[in-house]
Amino acid sequence: MLKRKLWRTAKAYKVQFISMILLIALGISVFVGFNAEWVTIGEDTSAFFRDCGFADYRIIDEDGISSADVDKIRDIEGVTGVSRFLSVNADVKDSDDQLALTITESAHTSGFVLMEGEEYDRWDADGFWLMDKYAQLNGIKPGDKLTVKFEDMEFTGTVRGLIESAEYLICVRDESQVMPDFNTYGYVYAAPAMLKKVLEQQIREEEPDLDDDVMSIAVKETCDKIFCQLNVNSSMEKQEIQAAVDKALGRSLLILTKDENVSYVESRGEMNEGKTMGAVLPVLFLAIAILTMITTMNRITISEKTQIGTLKALGFRDGKIIRHYTSYAVIISLAGSILGMVLGYFLCKMVMSQDGMMGTYFVMPDWTIHIPLWIWGIVLLIILLTIFIGYLSVRDLLRGTAAETLRPYTPRHIHRMLIEGTPLWRRMRFGTKWNLRDIFRHKSRSAMSFIGTFGCMLMLVASFGMNQTMTNFLDTFYDGTAVYSSKVFLSSDADNTDAVRLAGKLEGDYSASVSAKVGDKTVSVDVYNISHGMYRFIDEDSNIIALPEEGALVCKRLARDFNVKAGDVVIIELYGTDESYEILISGINGSLTESISMTEEYAESLGLTDSETYKINSVYTMTTKDQISTDSKITSVQSKQDILDSFDSFMKIFYFFVIVLIVASVLLCLIVLYNLGIMSYMERYREMATLKVLGFRNKAIGRLLISQNLWISVAGTLFGIPSGIWALTYLMNMLAGEYEMETTVGPVSIIPATALNLGVAIIVGWMISRKNRKINMVEALKGTE
């Protein structure tokens, strides 16, 4: 019989029951969705890195790495795999597309996962293994012919298989491209045999009569020059491997760790961002959901007090009554958790799937969603906590005798507030006093309403602010600093004279980037010749500044890392040389990359331009990409619009998160306020009936109800604004510290956030206030107190 009562009581409190289920579901879905996302990124990318033998270290020597060097490094204890690795952006014949032509001598290091077609064969001189996503979008199938050109070399072969490689988990042309464009850029693996074949053909064209043995030696020597990168698998620390390599080769080479590889660092970055997001916002959701649960469960049990007393008087044992009332919590928590897990899974799936948001960023074969044990554990804890809350609510009521429990619940008596007795209080209308006293009489309900609107406002400000910060960031860097239309990348054989000639022809500015070491850190030293104003610089507050004539600008992150300010001196050591230079820091700038920027004149005064590693590699021009004629000294041209377009894709993912947060925040606020509003309505039902009997109109009573809701919401909103800005600043520092993003929260963010937050409060207030039309005065005022 109690089972029937269970369902009927649930029906009687359907608003509270449904809202509690939805709250738990919302809290758990956001928590599971956000946390499963970063765990999935971590698990799936790690598996992919492992399957492809993703290199732990990349040893760079611009003069080339010989096969003898490879043997020496292979022999180092602790090195488990080595492979000379070549990756160059090659043009696809009869197309504007480019492919990263990749040759790895060992398929076990920096290899790939075969998706379709034939296995990799390092002796296959005519085979290509092409990125599957590029192949699909361009209608290329295994068996099709493909020709790619790099400088004066032409590689022609048959597509043997379609693949995915962890080296190109994030397949971008260069660091200035934020998002991949699989239509026009991909990667293709060729076997070392194909490289040898192409080299042989090239040598044969120049010297047709070379015999096979000499040819073999010539090819080997060319290969030793062409392969400038050796990829290494090893669990050694960087210092250890650096020392071991320097010792083995007898020269100091630049060694890049995984953390300097865009695929690795960006995927770890995504994971860490997710982790930070997962640790802040969803926890807030869960906390609000659980606190509202406590309040609601407590109120429902209190309103069941007489019934509990009746059951007790009838002879039901306390244990049975407790089980009966706790079963409400069991139903709510189980239904909410199951719904939340399912929603959370799909929320994660919307991001982490081949066709999902992250599918436009990562290319990897396995997109299995991972919900780790600790997430299940937390969900289980929430279920247990909910049941415990239910248990506590009813246990307190059962403490006394049946007669005591049978007595109707009398709410806590009101006490005078500090404000009473002041002239202000005397001037207040009765409704204001009534609402104020009610707020303090039902502190937990009021506090929960406040926390609900405060939390919602915090999340709304953070979400809208995130959007504004990102827009401001893009405006600052791409409208502020990058004036050019096109960035021209110069080929490796273009010397500085070629560069100056091209810059002159294109009426552009040029820059040289030199890799250098400051302490243990690798930085880019960028030397600019700006005579056409194609590139500008910004200071710490995003104001446009000129490059100083004397000294260099250091970016904010490096200034912080090196603890330097204007007037200090930094010593840079150029990789691949023994040269070091003392650089005077003249100012600090905002920059997308970790760099030190200076004028060509200052570099000349230092003698840096005389270094053999100094090489102009980019030209910035207003000439549009399609108007730049082909030139053997140009590797590729990137238009600013391409970069902005790739940002658009990035922004789509970003907007998705922002929208999920906004929708979830508004839903949370709506459910919390409606639930508590209904509770407030029920608790003040009798008082409202009295007002109605006295002659107050429905609208007047409705206004009283709305105004209480609104006051609390205004307070929540006011406190939510600074807290939201604080939360956003914290998140931005955690998530995008590497981008030097300035948290920007202005009226563009605060106005819509406030409108949404107060809008929800007004709508909920209106929905509840309409209910007072149905107050049955006769029924409400029956009986005794």
Partner: protein, 233 residues
């Protein structure tokens, strides 16, 4: 002068398949300024009569005219205005707002009643001036009912409607409250209609109306009602 007229008033409640006439074809007139007691057993229809007269409920059929106004056709807002201006209610369970002080409970009607009386003066008259800043829970039952009477009178209504006003009080306190109610009503020239099943209260009335099974069985005028002291409680 007639202040209340019930013409063929019926109030039917329908619960599922069950239909019950709480009041059936009631025709009744009440003169202004009188002290009227409505007597009847539980379920006779006394409270329904009071609720219809007070504009808390609408008749199923028939016409109710109060002070010249047909209240049976009024809209919800018009009924609210009617309650605010014409009738004052005193309930068995006082129905004071627990979060307002004594004075605030009374003066809140100032916001709706156009011709309201001074809350402080009324409180002084019922001897509760010293309690004006206390909350209802800090008062005894009798004191709370006196506040309730003040609140009903504060609107300066033509009619006071009292539903078992002494029902929750011990007899001694009940007498005090009744005396006060009568005194205040007479001093201010109000019509009092009390619904009760207490025969003793009826002895004090100018008119006693008996209701049974939803019908008015008799209307007795008492030319010489007893005072509260004369009634054997």
């Amino acid at each position: 002068m007639k202040i209340v007229e019930f013409k063929d008033v019926t109030r039917t409640y329908v619960t599922g398949d069950h239909t019950q006439n709480a009041l059936a074809d009631v025709d009744l007139e009440i003169e202004g300024g009188k002290f009227v007691v409505i007597l009847g057993p539980s379920g006779a229809g006394k409270s329904t009569f009071l609720n219809l007269l007070g504009g808390l409920d609408n008749p199923t059929s028939g016409t109710i005219i109060v002070d010249g106004t047909d209240i049976s056709t009024l809209s919800s807002d018009e009924l609210a205005d009617y309650r605010a201006a014409k009738v004052g209610f005193v309930f068995q369970s006082y129905n004071l707002i627990p979060t307002l002080t004594v004075l605030e409970n009374i003066s809140l009607v100032e916001e709706i009643a156009p011709d309201h009386m001074k809350a402080e003066e009324l409180l002084a008259e019922v001897g509760l001036a010293d309690h004006s800043h206390q909350f209802p829970h800090e008062l005894s039952g009798g004191e709370q009912q006196r506040v309730s009477i003040c609140r009903a009178l504060a609107k300066n209504p033509k009619i006071l409607l009292c539903d078992e006003p002494t029902g929750a009080l011990d007899s001694e306190t009940g007498v005090v409250v009744l005396k006060l109610l009568l005194k205040m009503a007479r001093d201010y020239g109000k019509t009092i209609i009390i619904v009760t099943h207490n025969q003793n209260i009826a002895k004090m009335a100018d008119v006693v109306i008996h209701i049974r099974s939803g019908k008015v069985t008799s209307v007795d005028e008492q030319p010489h009602p007893l005072s509260a002291e004369e009634v054997d409680w």
